[in-house]
């Protein structure tokens, strides 16, 4: 009996070691093309292979879906309408390989390795979230594969000295920049900041502190709260005693809603109430009703913004196209994902080559206007041209109030106190 057990164990183990990935039988016809397959096969087929590991399941499933839809929208457009990416005199169709990383840090590294070494992708698009982008970009950097991303906003991504990582979105530290500037111009003098203790909100809060000081406001307090906060009334009471002009809450959707509710409960009513992530989402208004009015939030992108791009037209035109394809309005995660792929396309066309270093040089020299806003990368790979927009909820509508070139309404300041609505 024991011998049988052992036989089974050995057979199984040998099988598993010898072919560790039996469930993913990818064809490997190009095993001999060598290296990154920059020349050779793709040229005859005129196909550019681009890969991405994006969460379809797990905790980033929702945002991952927006990301995926944004990527696919671009791919369908570039293949069917645009006629393929122009490289020199030739047109290349895009083959987009997207896997589900399960929001799992181990899966994202495995899939990134697979995309590069087995699927032989020439370029990568980013996953969703800063943490997963960190693990994935270390791998693409090692293989000198360009990764353009639009969903990892933490500034520390760009402090690792990576040469092949680029991000079209405005980094977290600049989230509150235009909002605080508008408030300073309106006469706000003091600020309190609360942030959720995870990478992205932390960067937002550090940025907010910096911008507040730069625009001549006094920072009265900076407090962090745990990721799974259930009650913020103590925090809000504390802030109420400080009596600031502006409150900045850096977090995500759920805790944003909580902060607003608790502020109303303890009647902490500063002259302006700013939250990251939540306010630009229509569900935020549904959730909070009239409490949501006058709340200010940063936004990467809104369909009402007035940019005019060469390829997808205005944000409104992009949004219509998106709705037609996916039967739902685009979130900014979707828009920045499309913009991510678009930036890569523009760089390839500028370079006239599929070589990583040539495309990298083109990315560094890029200075374009798109439906998503201006794109111009600095040496570290951050998009420095695009300022964050700011929106305010006015009568249940999300309207852009800053920056001036994209604004459609004026800031209402100070806000009407909670109990007088």
């Amino acid at each position: 009996m024991r011998k049988f057990t052992f036989g089974l164990l050995i057979v199984l183990a040998v099988l598993l070691v010898a072919c560790p990935s039996p469930a993913t039988p990818t064809p490997e016809p190009q095993a001999e093309t060598g290296g990154q397959a920059e020349e050779g096969m793709p040229k005859e087929e005129k196909v550019i292979r681009i890969g991405a590991a994006v969460s379809e399941t797990g905790k980033y499933a929702r945002e991952g879906q927006d990301t995926r839809q944004g990527y696919i929208l671009w791919q369908e457009w570039v293949n069917n309408e645009y006629g393929g990416i122009k490289v020199g005199d030739e047109r290349y169709k895009v083959e987009l390989i997207i896997y589900d990383d399960e929001s799992n840090p181990d899966t994202v590294t495995r899939l990134t390795e697979k995309l590069i070494t087995e699927d032989k992708v020439q370029f990568l698009l980013g996953p969703y979230s800063s943490g997963l982008t960190k693990a994935a970009s270390a791998i693409s950097e090692k293989y000198k594969i360009i990764m353009v991303e639009g969903n990892g906003a933490s500034d520390s991504l760009f402090e690792r000295g990576f040469k092949y990582l680029f991000a079209v979105l405005t980094p977290a530290s600049r989230y509150t920049e235009s909002g605080l500037k508008a408030l300073a111009d309106a006469g706000a003098k003091s600020v309190v900041i609360a942030y959720k203790d995870s990478p992205f909100p932390k960067s937002v809060a550090q940025g907010a502190e910096k911008w507040a000081k730069e625009y001549g406001m006094e920072v009265l307090a900076v407090e962090s709260y745990p990721a799974d906060i259930k009650d913020a009334t103590a925090l809000m009471t504390k802030f109420k005693d400080l009596n600031p002009d502006v409150f900045v809450g850096a977090g995500h959707f759920v805790d944003g809603v909580l902060l607003a509710r608790n502020a109303e409960e303890v009647d902490f009513a500063p002259k302006a109430f700013m939250l990251t992530v939540g306010p630009s989402n229509p569900e935020f208004v549904e959730e909070l009703g009239k409490t949501s009015n006058y709340i200010i939030g940063p936004t990467q992108w809104e369909r009402t913004m007035t940019w005019q791009g060469q390829y997808f037209g205005t944000p409104e035109e992009y949004a219509k196209r998106y709705e037609e394809r996916w039967n739902e309005p685009p979130t900014y995660q979707a828009a920045e994902s499309t913009a991510t792929a678009l930036a890569l396309q523009i760089a390839i066309e500028m370079a006239g080559s599929l070589d990583s270093d040539a495309v990298r040089q083109a990315l560094l020299e890029m200075d374009v206007m798109t439906f998503y806003g201006p794109i111009k990368f600095d040496e570290t790979g951050k998009n420095v041209a695009k300022a964050m927009g700011a929106i305010q909820i006015q009568d249940g509508n999300i309207v852009v109030i800053a920056p001036e070139e994209a604004a459609v309404a004026d800031l209402i300041y100070p806000m009407v106190p909670w109990n007088e609505r």
Partner: protein, 339 residues
């Protein structure tokens, strides 16, 4: 509950061979990189070796000693953060000696072991489900402590490690650690130390009365298990190049390590490695075919195994010789009532 008959080396001559089969298997695995696999395949093997090592280490305290540890990932996390803090080049933390991996790695095991010795003094006095829950609470507490201890751990912002990524080197480290861990389990199972652990599992008071220093044995098993788990954590942090509380204290990893041991067969030498290999393969299977239901599938499988396959895969083949989670939880209070 008399089905337990302590195995001994002399009674089971086959046991002399099984370690050689393991050695051969490891040597075969050591040849795998010479077949020019892609680094993606190497990484799959690395992750599987890590899971096998974790399951095997968990088995030492959870299966052999009978203390079902629901928070063993704590030690993985301590190991990961030890290497993270010692290696990071970040200027934001107060203590960053910027060591190389080989300098930092041993400390990951040592800190985990020290923590286990301290913690074990308290939690190993608990029995059955109480121990399990105390350890689960420790895990959750540790995650929050790491989050709050920003000056040292980077808090929610995490720590960057120098991205050195050499999959071949990582493959051999993971393989070596796995070979060592499983080999050690084999040795323990066949030693007096291991027999004492089994005696503690089956009847702790009885063992005490027969002159076994139960506290010493339990604590040693716990510390050794934590040491090896800490080493896996430190290695993981290095090969992932980035740690934060969410990716290190990732709940599915905690579940998988326990699940692998339970699926394979608690307290056996070869059950946890077999369980881990099968589980890893199944995970891939679910991942590929039932994209949205794979966690559900794993959850159902866990329930199925605990209820209908209590002895795990090895128990299926060796009737009546393998213990189960339910056994371990019911045994202890029952014995207390008897005495």
């Amino acid at each position: 509950m008399s089905r337990f008959t302590p195995p001994s080396a002399s009674e089971n001559p086959v046991r002399r061979y099984d370690i050689w089969l393991w050695v051969i298997l490891v040597l075969l695995a050591a040849l795998y990189p010479f077949t020019q696999p892609t680094t993606a395949r190497l990484l799959i093997a690395i992750q599987m070796f890590m899971l096998i090592t974790l399951a095997s280490n968990w088995n030492l305290i959870g299966g052999m000693t009978g203390y079902v540890d629901f928070g063993h990932l704590t030690f993985f996390g301590i190991g990961a953060y030890t290497v993270g803090i010692l290696m990071t080049r970040s200027g934001e933390v107060i203590f960053a000696p910027q060591l190389s991996f080989w300098q930092a790695w041993p400390f990951s095991g040592l800190t985990a072991m020290l923590f286990a010795l301290t913690l074990g003094a308290a939690t190993l006095r608990l029995k059955g489900p109480y121990f399990s829950i105390a350890m689960l609470a420790t895990l959750l507490a540790m995650r929050e402590i790491v989050r709050l201890f920003t000056p040292l751990t980077g808090g929610g912002g995490g720590l960057d490690l120098p991205p050195e990524l050499n999959r071949i080197q990582e493959y051999y480290i993971a393989l070596g650690l796995m070979a060592l861990s499983v080999g050690l389990m084999w040795w323990i199972r066949n030693s007096e130390f291991g027999l004492s652990l089994l005696a503690i599992r089956e009847d702790e008071i009885g063992a005490e009365m027969r002159g076994i220093n139960t506290t010493l044995h339990k604590t040693t098993a716990f510390a050794l298990s934590a040491f090896l788990t800490g080493l896996v954590g430190g290695f993981w942090a290095w090969q992932n190049t980035y740690i934060d509380p969410d990716v290190v204290f990732f709940e599915p990893r905690n579940l998988e390590m326990i699940m692998a041991a339970v699926l394979g067969g608690l307290g056996t030498v070869w059950g946890p490695p077999l369980g881990a290999a099968v589980l890893y393969w199944l995970r891939e299977f679910f991942w590929n075919r039932f994209l949205f239901a794979h966690l559900l599938g794993l959850g159902l499988m866990l329930i199925f195994v605990v209820l209908f396959l209590p002895g795990g895969l090895v128990g299926l083949l060796q009737k009546g010789r393998v213990t189960s989670v339910l056994d371990l939880w019911r045994l202890q209070p029952a014995h207390e009532e008897e005495t």
